[in-house]
Structures are given as structure tokens and as C-alpha cells.
Symmetry: C2
Subunit: 180 residues, 2 copies
């Protein structure tokens, strides 16, 4: 895209520049939600790159394995990482060659492979996760603790209907995106 000046960039990132006076509250809300999400995601992506030379798909894959010490099958990881569009096989190859993860055959399924964090991977991921949490905390500092709880509550009221909609819709890729 080449370099553009910051004001133009901010405009480009701010979906609300699309909103007109007569637009419905829900539409303003959606574009503001999208803008905030994109800005936070972009910030996290830049931090992962600058501080850990890493990417969101790598972080997401490692985060899943960190949550599942017993390991996850490729197929399970693919499902869990679907949203981020990460190429599990390619990522797993990289991460294994870099010593982050190990592969094991699955006893009850000879074609399946289970991925686990290596001890080193677990230790290195802990640093990344701590950084990630610090960045996210600082990104939300504009909101008081009470306001963060309010926002959490409002989004918590919104989410169930959205999940139900997906389950009715049944599209397996409602939010697929390239993240790298």
C-alpha cells in the first residue's frame, strides 16, 4: 500500500468515517466495534512482531496448546484456529523445527498426530502471554475498572444470540481472516 500519512491512516482505520447522520445506532455501534477490534488486533500484531518476532496465528496456536497440556490433535487445532485462518500444518512444522512443540502419534488413531508444547515452548510462551496481557491491559486503560466491567457485561449480553445465529447458519467460516 506504500506509506500514507497518519491522518489518512486514521481515517482509513476509522470505519465510522462511513457513518452518516441518519444511520441507525446499531450501525454506528457495529462500525465502532469493528474499528476498535481492528485497532486492538493491529496493535497486538505489531507488538508480537516487534517484541517476539511472532505472529497472531502462531500466538493463537501456542495459546491453544498451552490451554491443553495433554496436547491437541491437528484436527482439533484446525477447528479451534479456524477463526484466525492459521494454516495449522505449516505453522506446526515451523514451531516444531524451532523447538516450541512436539508431535506424538495418537494411540487410538494411527493416522492422527497430537501436538504438545515442549517444556521450552511452554516457558517461552509464558513470556509472550505475559507481554500480550500487558499490551491488552494498556490498550483498555482509557476505561476504568467499572467501565471495563460494564463493557464486558454488555458484550456478554450480545454474544449468546450471535453464537446461536452461527449455529443456525452453520457456515463454518463466519470470521475467517488471514492473520500473518
Amino acid at each position: 500500500m506504500g506509506s500514507i500519512d497518519d491522518a489518512a491512516l486514521a481515517g482509513a482505520l476509522d470505519h465510522e468515517t462511513r457513518v452518516q447522520a441518519h444511520d441507525h445506532t446499531a450501525l454506528k455501534l457495529w462500525l465502532r466495534l469493528l474499528t476498535c477490534t481492528n485497532l486492538i488486533e493491529g496493535s497486538v500484531r505489531r507488538k508480537l512482531r516487534s517484541e517476539f518476532e511472532s505472529t497472531l496465528p502462531r500466538f493463537d496456536l501456542l495459546a491453544q496448546l498451552e490451554r491443553h497440556p495433554q496436547g491437541l490433535k491437528m484436527s482439533e487445532l484446525s477447528q479451534r484456529l479456524m477463526v484466525t485462518g492459521g494454516n495449522v500444518t505449516g505453522l506446526a512444522d515451523q514451531l516444531e523445527s524451532e523447538g516450541w512443540i512436539t508431535r506424538e502419534p495418537v494411540a487410538d488413531d494411527r493416522r492422527a498426530i497430537r501436538l504438545k508444547l515442549s517444556p521450552t515452548g511452554r516457558r517461552r510462551f509464558a513470556e509472550m502471554a505475559a507481554g500480550h496481557e500487558r499490551w491488552v491491559i494498556s490498550l483498555f486503560e482509557a476505561l476504568s475498572r467499572d467501565e471495563q466491567q460494564q463493557l464486558l457485561r454488555l458484550l456478554g449480553k450480545l454474544k449468546p444470540g450471535l453464537l446461536a445465529g452461527v449455529q443456525r447458519g452453520g457456515d463454518a467460516r463466519p470470521a475467517e481472516r488471514r492473520r500473518s
Copy 2:
């Protein structure tokens, strides 16, 4: 990705399945925000496809032109659509061949081309935009009007700092994603 059952899908879409009890509020908040955004975006994408055989990059490009009746240069559109990762040239070729938009030379810049909605394009986009607004309104129906205003206010308090962060950071692709 093949087809997976709805529960697995919901789990995959719900980034909060990653959150553990000790995680900070801001982290829960970020994952909930990301989940809601992905679910809404996915729903809008499916509706655009099923009701208008269209895509988000097409919708976003047309929405920009609808906001700028005097037309936009390719370069301006590229900047504005950066967030959605749309390939402006490719999209513009399609949309022109389908009669949605017209190209005009730019008086003061002989290498530049300005894109405008055609009268037909404007009429057809109005239907899409009306559909889009209906869908978004229904996606937010779980929240009362007051709650929508609260959410709008809270995100409005969050956004300026995030935009300022991008302007400081200066990465021109903070939220680039493939959308098609």
C-alpha cells in the same frame, strides 16, 4: 476445513474458551470484543453472499463511493479500503464490468482515475445498504436502546487512544485482513 458440529464451531468461534480464571478483565474483554466482532462480521458476510451474491470488500468499496458522490481516486480508495484488504483494482474492474461504477480521468492528474457509482450502482447499493442496516439492527437486538447507547459511549471512550496509538506506531497495516 470440512464440516464440524455446531458445538465445536461455537467453541472455535468463541475466543473466551481461551480465557482462564486468573486472566485479567482487559484480556476477557478483548477476547469477548474479538468474538462478537468476528461473529457479526461473519453474519454480515453470509448475508451479503446469500441475499446479494456480494462480498464485504465489494460492499465496503461501494459504501465509500456512496459517501463520495464526487468520486474517489484509486489511491484514495486504496487508503480507505486498506483495513479490509480489498484489491481495489481488481474489484473496480469487476464492478465496472457489472455496471456498478464508472471511471473518469482526473483533470489535474493525467495518470489518475476517479471512480464513481453509476446511477444504477447507486440504486442497487441503496438496497444492499438497507439490507446491511437491517441485519446489523437485528444482530444488536439483544441490547436495549439504552444499552446500545452505553456500548457506543464506552467504545467511544476507548477508540481515541487506540487511533492515537496507530498514529504513533505508524504501521500502515494494523488491521489488514483478507475479506472475500
